[in-house]
Symmetry: C2
């Protein structure tokens, strides 16, 4: 069964809505590449025969506000390219059924230049009618797996992920299990999108890369601190793993080629300038990640432990800053532009 891992909902102190500055940087950093993909690769005249309606989907929209920036950017660039055609735009904001769509809808910009629509459901499956989509956008979302690879929880398996919550410092068998799950999920993902996207349609992925793996581990070490202090049973940590895999360009090439319906128009690992890193604002990074992970932590450990883990990780801000400096201070991200053959 597909499970769902919504960001912190609503509009409160640790909500994703108020704590997604890092994700906004990722979107901003890719704006120029999205622009190039549209200006250089999109042929609206071929795609839209009689109708003048351009349909865009956001896969993993969460609750905003970043998704509004991203969608308006796509609309603006398409308009700029086809300023001689009187296009209409329809944007479908999609995320899991338990995403907080109420918050998303209530913060829709009044001055948007598109018809807005919300689509509940997993992108590991069909969401839209056949050949109805011209542009698909997925930012900091395709790294979410449909489930935790089950071998990680099996004591007898070489992929048992004892004492860890992700694959950053795990053995290679654990990494393999994550990769296998990612490939399985992306096969379903690409099969669905291949049906939904018109010929010539563009899909872009913007995905965090290696730096996130390390950041996530700081939460894991906070959990282990609690274990070492006797406040948490280790078996609870052993049975908790994050359902996310940050694909490399090689991973991406493999899944695209396996599906066969899309051509890779551009793939780039970038080190975008991050204001947060310039300031060494590790705290913002951690709080952003908290807004993403807290729901998962609460589900598994209860809200008391979840809060303590988040607070303790915040206390590691200095350590995280140091690590960031040592690692060039520049998080990586992967940009991919694909075209439906």
């Amino acid at each position: 069964m597909t499970t769902s891992f919504p960001m912190n909902d609503g509009n409160s102190a640790y909500s994703y809505f108020n704590n997604s500055q890092r994700q906004k940087e990722i979107i901003d950093a890719s704006k120029e590449m999205v622009r190039e993909a549209i200006i250089g690769r999109l042929d609206v005249e071929v795609m839209l025969s009689s109708s003048k309606l351009f349909r865009i989907i956001e896969l993993g929209c969460s609750i905003g506000p970043n998704t509004f920036h991203a969608m308006q950017h796509v609309v603006d660039v398409v308009k700029e390219k086809y300023n001689n055609i009187n296009l209409e735009f329809q944007v479908f904001f999609s995320d899991h059924i338990d995403n907080d769509f109420n918050t998303l809808f209530r913060s829709l910009p009044m001055d948007r230049s598109y018809y807005a629509s919300g689509v509940p459901g997993s992108f590991h499956g069909r969401l839209f009618p056949s050949r109805s989509i011209h542009f698909a956008h997925a930012s900091t979302s395709i790294h979410w797996l449909s489930r935790v690879p089950k071998e990680l929880l099996d004591e007898k398996s070489p992929s048992w992920n004892k004492g860890l919550i992700h694959y950053g410092t795990s053995n290679s068998e654990v990494v393999k299990a994550y990769v296998a799950q990612f490939e399985k999920d992306m096969e379903i993902f690409f099969n669905a999108r291949a049906e939904e996207i018109v010929q010539g349609g563009i899909m872009v992925f913007i995905s965090p890369f290696s730096s996130y793996i390390r950041l996530v581990e700081f939460f894991g070490s906070s959990l282990m601190d609690l274990v070492n202090e006797g406040k948490l049973d280790e078996s609870l940590v052993d049975s908790f793993n994050l359902p996310m895999y940050f694909p490399s360009p090689q991973d991406m090439t493999k899944v695209v080629e396996k599906n066969g319906c899309f051509s890779i128009e551009k793939m780039e690992l970038t080190h975008p300038k991050s204001k947060l890193v310039d300031d060494f604002d590790a705290k913002t990074f951690i709080i952003n990640l908290r807004a993403v992970l807290e729901g998962l932590l609460i589900n598994h450990f209860g809200s008391k432990i979840a809060e303590e883990v988040c607070e303790r990780t915040l206390l590691k801000a200095e350590e995280i800053s140091t690590w960031m400096k040592a690692n060039g201070g520049k998080p990586c991200q992967l940009f991919v532009a694909l075209k439906r053959k």
Copy 2:
């Protein structure tokens, strides 16, 4: 400014979700007429040239579950008529921006045979791209006005609605103000739908008629009881009016003809068999109406008075039963099928 009057949200005791049996009866009673409109009036082959995608909108979907029955019925009948064509269906559930879409999405039937989408916004305005809709459905929704006619609140106006909350027993000037607002709203409504619905597309309205006017008054009389007991200031009742007008066939003909883009294919005032009336279950009627009106009452009077008014109206169940019997026991409803010229 357009204001919004959402039904009671969530899934609790007095939520619309759990208290809309009467509205379901209204939908059930019109199923055969919706069927006739599709079988007799719809020509999919003309509307859908190359694409095989049939798009349906629900205007005023609220939070379910009735809307799911209604939409599946439309899909089933279109499929039955065109069983030789491999159609895909996309349903857009639309309601005000502060409708509880989270509850709606979380209760979407798993076995639905359409792609589901939510569209936030007022139907007194554009919601969808031009010529993109094949079937529009509005059940117990077009009677909602975009605002209370402002004359009702003006002591110096002949339309001042002193001591009353609706137009059931008001003077003819009050009724005129309601009619004028309805006509203004429907002009905007029809202008929007005329753009959105393809040529040959069908729109159906299912609207409660006269019986509701009387039922609503029982809430008004409960408010006046509180005034007479010195528990509520009369000016608060004077300044409260319900933003709803239940159109007659004559009202409907007038607004359709004024717009000029739709032909009336069928218009019928019906007295559908109601299980609730057979049982004289006035309580269910009142609780259904409470799920609709409570938000408005809370906004104006605060939650304490709102609750007392609802509870007091429940105590009038016997009186309401008697009135129902005396009036043939059969509430009226208006069914309209229109076709985009």
